[in-house]
């Protein structure tokens, strides 16, 4: 018997394929009722273009596990970057993407830790990156550019 809950949690994020929507803390609930599976997901950035893709990926994954899916999006309580799991943070770092600061820090102006060398001698080079959730930074220690997931506190 396939564990449909872990199937849902393991669906990769379409724009950050190194991490799953479970790692990102977007899955609010998975309710299994016979062959029906209801999944509740929290959106991250309101205009994230991956939203529709995530929904169809989750539906396909649930169907692949032999169940009938229904997916709902839930605004409240709002997703925050603190919902990213420890494992998710590690995976992001391993992919060269700095995770957002933990613990509800207001991150707009805080230097982020370089995911490549661990230095805090970094600076923001562009506030907007290739996806809504990321910004571009540069590490003055290892002299590498890198992406960072923006902090979205409560």
């Amino acid at each position: 018997m396939i564990d449909v809950r872990s199937v849902v949690y393991g669906v990769p994020d379409p724009e950050l394929p190194h991490v799953s929507i479970g790692d990102l803390g977007m899955v609010r609930r998975v309710v299994v009722d016979g062959t029906q599976v209801s999944v509740t997901i929290a959106p991250t950035f309101l205009g994230c273009p991956a939203t529709e893709q995530i929904q169809s990926d989750v539906e396909a994954a649930v169907r692949g596990a032999g169940y009938t899916p229904s997916v709902e999006w839930e605004l409240a309580p709002m997703w925050t970057s603190d919902d990213i799991t420890e494992e998710g943070r590690t995976k992001l770092r391993m992919a060269g993407i700095a995770p957002p600061p933990a613990g509800g820090a207001v991150s707009v102006d805080l230097p982020v830790v370089c995911p490549l060398c661990g230095s805090r001698r970094t600076r923001l080079t562009a506030g907007f990156g290739a996806t809504p959730c990321k910004a571009l930074h540069h590490c003055d220690h290892c002299r590498q550019p890198f992406e960072a997931v923006k902090g979205l506190p409560r």
């Binding site: 959106p43 950035f45 309101l46 205009g47 994230c48 273009p49 605004l75 409240a76 309580p77 709002m78 997703w79 707009v108 102006d109 080079t125 562009a126 506030g127 907007f128 990156g129 290739a130 809504p132 571009l136 923006k150 979205l152 506190p153 409560r154």
Partner: protein, 249 residues
Amino acid sequence: MNGTSGLLAHVLRQGDRALVLAQRLGEWVAHAPELEEDMAVANLSLDLLGQARHLYSYAGELEGQGHEEDYFAYWRSADQFGNPLLVEQPNGDFAHTMVRQLLHDHAALLYWESMTVSTDSRLAALAVRASNETRFHLRHSHGWVVRLGDGTEESHRRTQNALTALWPYAEELVTCPDDDELRETGQVGPPFADAWRTAVAETLAEATLIIPDGAVPITGGWSGTHTEHLVPLLDELQSVARAHPGASW
């Protein structure tokens, strides 16, 4: 805005504000002064579009006539749009766009922050995320207006021209009719006009820009009376949906 009132009108106005500005910003994509700015304006536009979509979805539920978000974006005419006049003003040069954005972002941030205490749980939830997003927008527009205003003689001249041209439209951002009524029920948060004036004045002072004296505010957008610029914007925005009704992609 004919025939709509109360919370529905409020939600539509805010959705219209976000959608119209998103469309204006989209016009810059592939034309911005540098690659990072192409990315930035696209991201600003996308965030605003996302906010508009959520607001329109909620408007559809409040209205209760089975309308989804697309209906409000594509099937209403200019006089049914309740966006403030500032956001429909043409892009002009980059200084013009960034001054418009700064005036807007200060108001949008204060608006969303005030809405986090709304008694309407849907809007309060939306406000948490939208205020986070707007903080990033304001950092961007603040950075550019200061850099351009306090920059070279040419960039200062252009930025001051932009402020002089746009200032009459600014006041409307913080004086939305009907909101006072919704404040009594707590659905709309506390007023923020004074906080906006202070915040804007601080940024403009830092940018060495002068607020024009004695400008008479030009208003009417919130109640559906627009400048000549909204109709062509909507023509473009709505052309595909209206040429192919019911199409999906």
